[in-house]
């Protein structure tokens, strides 16, 4: 958990602000889970739903994070998620029609969905890097296109094979954590591996150092021989793949495509990225917190504990995000070069 930041010398204040979202998330979650622990079945159900609801937000936020760390603001995550869900679903569905084995058609679906979203990532890099277009407009174009295209092309009545649940042998037998962490669909595990992977890659590898450099000061990176344009292309494709996985998570969950099924998750992912302060582990905490509130509001309704409108709980994660971002001195600082195309001097 201790990572040295490359840009600022770690002061006490910086350390506090770095881990504050995590601290809040964990404190709130434990307090409520503790209060509910008189019924372990409920606690487990909430925990499992938390993990599951967090996963797509996590991947969506990673997509935004990699882009922004490389200097490209991506508000097209929503469109990427929707498009990959559609393409992945269609590939799985068509390959199942061609009587390929279930596993193969599922894998092909994931590949198809991820490829579609990665392609959109490439397109956005082209807009941002080669055309030096306004990145917000590029993202908006992607969102409008994805909704229009998938709504138009979607044919009702198609089905695809269901994703299996993978229970991890041994670990899933553990009390509490077994059901919460080790009884999910394969892509859910992959989402959490991605966070750890991106964290290590971003802070421990040459790729990560260069990525952060082109996001903070592309001129300096260029001076020492980093190909800024090429790197931004590459990173937007990787980021697109992350959003693609998020889309496939929706298919894993719902077993079928439905129109506009991303339902704003791409935008919530942006809030998660901000809440997580552009750090993969921060994003993990923020996504878990949002997932937890989703699960908690369902559980409170299950228990008929309070007569509070469900919409009130739907609002809590956003209030929290605003609150955390508004706390003086804690506003997330985006990478310095995010949003501006790099002009060679």
């Amino acid at each position: 958990m201790t990572t040295a930041t490359a840009t600022t010398s770690p002061t006490v204040k910086a350390t506090i602000s770095k881990y504050l979202p995590w601290a809040i998330a964990l404190a709130v979650m434990f307090a409520i889970l503790f209060a509910m622990s008189w019924d372990s079945r409920q606690t487990e159900a909430v925990g499992a739903a938390t993990v599951r609801a967090a996963a797509p937000l996590l991947l969506g936020a990673l997509c935004g994070l990699i882009g922004e760390r490389s200097g490209i603001i991506n508000i097209g995550i929503e469109g990427q998620i929707l498009l990959s869900a559609y393409c992945g679903f269609m590939v799985s569905s068509l390959s199942a029609d061609a009587s390929l084995p279930t596993v193969i058609s599922l894998i092909l679906g994931v590949v198809g969905g991820v490829a579609a979203s990665a392609l959109v990532g490439f397109f956005m890099a082209w807009c941002a890097v080669s055309l030096k277009m306004d990145q917000i407009i590029a993202g908006t174009v992607v969102n409008i296109f994805a909704l229009g295209f998938t709504s138009y092309a979607y044919v009702q009545g198609r089905t695809q094979p269901r994703y299996p649940n993978w229970t991890v042998p041994g670990l899933s037998e553990l009390p509490f954590v077994g059901d919460v962490l080790f009884n999910h669909g394969p892509l859910t595990y992959l989402a959490f591996f991605c966070v750890v992977g991106v964290h290590i890659a971003l802070f421990r590898t040459t790729w990560g150092l260069r990525t952060r450099a082109i996001g903070e000061h592309p001129g300096a990176a260029d001076t020492v021989g980093v190909d800024v344009a090429r790197m931004r292309y590459k990173n937007m494709i990787i980021a697109g793949a992350m959003a693609g996985l998020a889309g496939m998570l929706l298919i894993q969950s719902a077993s079928a495509f439905s129109r506009n099924m991303s339902n704003g998750k791409g935008f919530i992912a942006l809030a998660v990225m901000l809440f997580g302060r552009y750090r993969p582990l921060g994003v993990l905490g923020a996504a878990l917190l949002l997932g937890f509130f989703t699960a908690l509001q369902s559980q409170l309704q299950f228990n008929q504990a309070f007569d509070i409108p469900p919409q009130f709980f739907g609002m809590i994660p956003f209030l929290l995000t605003i609150a955390v971002l508004a706390v003086a001195g804690l506003a997330a600082r985006p990478p310095a070069a995010a949003g501006s195309p790099y002009e060679k001097e």
Binding site: A45, A53, P56, V141, S151, R162, A254, S298
Partner: protein
């Protein structure tokens, strides 16, 4: 620079084309009958259908209303899909401008726009699906359903089929009264057949614009309900409910699910492993009846109460014990003739 701006222009144009495919002034329109007359003329009867924010192939109430309209006596039918709740009035106006004789608006949320359009166009008949009429307007028929009765039947079956005595429901939103009626009826029905039943029911926490289009939430919540011990789950809320059904289906036959609005055996094939029945509103039949009345110039104004019922058991015909089927037959008859009180 010229090339770049040209590329940009092409790009924007492409996007507009793609967007236009999905939306045409706030909705995409379509019809499937040959239009061989003029809607503005008196002897050519045209009926338009405005969907709620949802699609005409939503496998649920929009689709059911559209199917009813296609079966109706109208000479020409056409639909427009609403993309945004701000476009209700515009979409209705689109049909009015073409001289349509009657307009079907689908969904509780269109009630206000329908009332306003009806007041301004006294010559056009309006059929409002799921729109309860507080005060009767001469040219508006509100096609309403006793959802509590349909829910009661579904709940009664759930109460008989549960072993854990924990019964779940994953619902659209409590902002829409029919959804609330389904839930309350469902719980009352379950208690009628199973006094020990407890409930884990939840509404989507979002607003009207998202509550019916979130299958991922529906699925996650259904799993959470199963984690709470539920072994029968009622999914009622468009794509959100369908997500719940698909999730329950992953537990092949261990947990049962119940669909809503139409026979979802036909519309949500993913749910086949768990779908024991659906709580149906016979929207299509109601639309056929009302369009026939409207065409004859004698449309009911105020509320028109349509029929409800339970769908076939399909593959679960052999799973559901005979005594349960007999009991259900009595309950359904009793609920329909009001000898069993399903009121909420």
């Amino acid at each position: 620079m010229l090339t770049r701006s040209r590329l940009l222009a092409i790009l924007v144009a492409l996007t507009l084309v793609a967007a236009a495919c999905g939306s045409d002034d706030g909705g995409s329109a379509g019809g499937n009958l040959e239009k061989d007359g003029d809607c503005a003329s008196e002897d050519y009867y045209c009926v338009g259908l405005v969907t709620d924010v949802g699609k005409v192939d939503d496998k649920s109430f929009n689709q059911s209303a559209w199917e009813g309209l296609q079966d109706s006596e109208a000479d020409y039918v056409e639909f427009i899909e609403t993309q945004d709740s701000k476009d209700y009035a515009n979409n209705i106006q689109g049909f009015l401008d073409q001289g349509f004789d009657a307009i079907v608006t689908v969904g509780f949320s269109l009630g206000e726009a329908t009332g306003i359009a009806a007041a301004e166009n006294p010559d056009v008949d309006f059929i409002g699906v799921d729109q309860f009429q507080g005060e009767a307007i001469a040219n508006v028929a509100g096609l309403i359903f006793p959802e509590n009765k349909a829910g009661f039947m579904a709940g009664a079956l759930a109460g008989l089929m549960t072993e854990s005595n924990v019964i779940g429901a994953v619902l659209g939103t409590d902002l829409v009264p029919p959804v609330v009626a389904f839930k309350e009826g469902y719980e009352k029905g379950a208690l009628y057949t199973n006094a020990d039943a407890t409930f884990v029911s939840t509404y989507h926490p979002g607003g009207l614009d998202v509550a019916f289009g979130d299958p991922d939430w529906g699925a996650t919540t259904a799993r959470q309900a199963i984690g709470n011990g539920a072994d029968v789950i009622f999914g009622a809320g468009g794509a959100t409910g369908n997500g719940a059904l698909a999730e329950v289906a992953k537990d092949e036959g261990v947990v049962f699910c119940i669909g809503v609005d139409t026979d979802q055996w036909e519309t949500v094939p993913e749910a086949h492993p768990c779908l024991i029945t659906s709580a149906m509103k016979l929207i299509d039949a109601g639309v056929v009846d009302l369009v026939a009345e409207a065409k004859a110039g004698s449309m009911t104004s105020g509320n028109f109460v349509g029929d409800v019922g339970l769908a076939d058991y399909h593959d679960f015909e052999d799973v559901i014990p005979d005594d349960v089927k007999d009991e259900m037959e009595k309950i359904i008859a009793g609920v329909l003739d009001d000898s069993i009180d399903a009121s909420i």
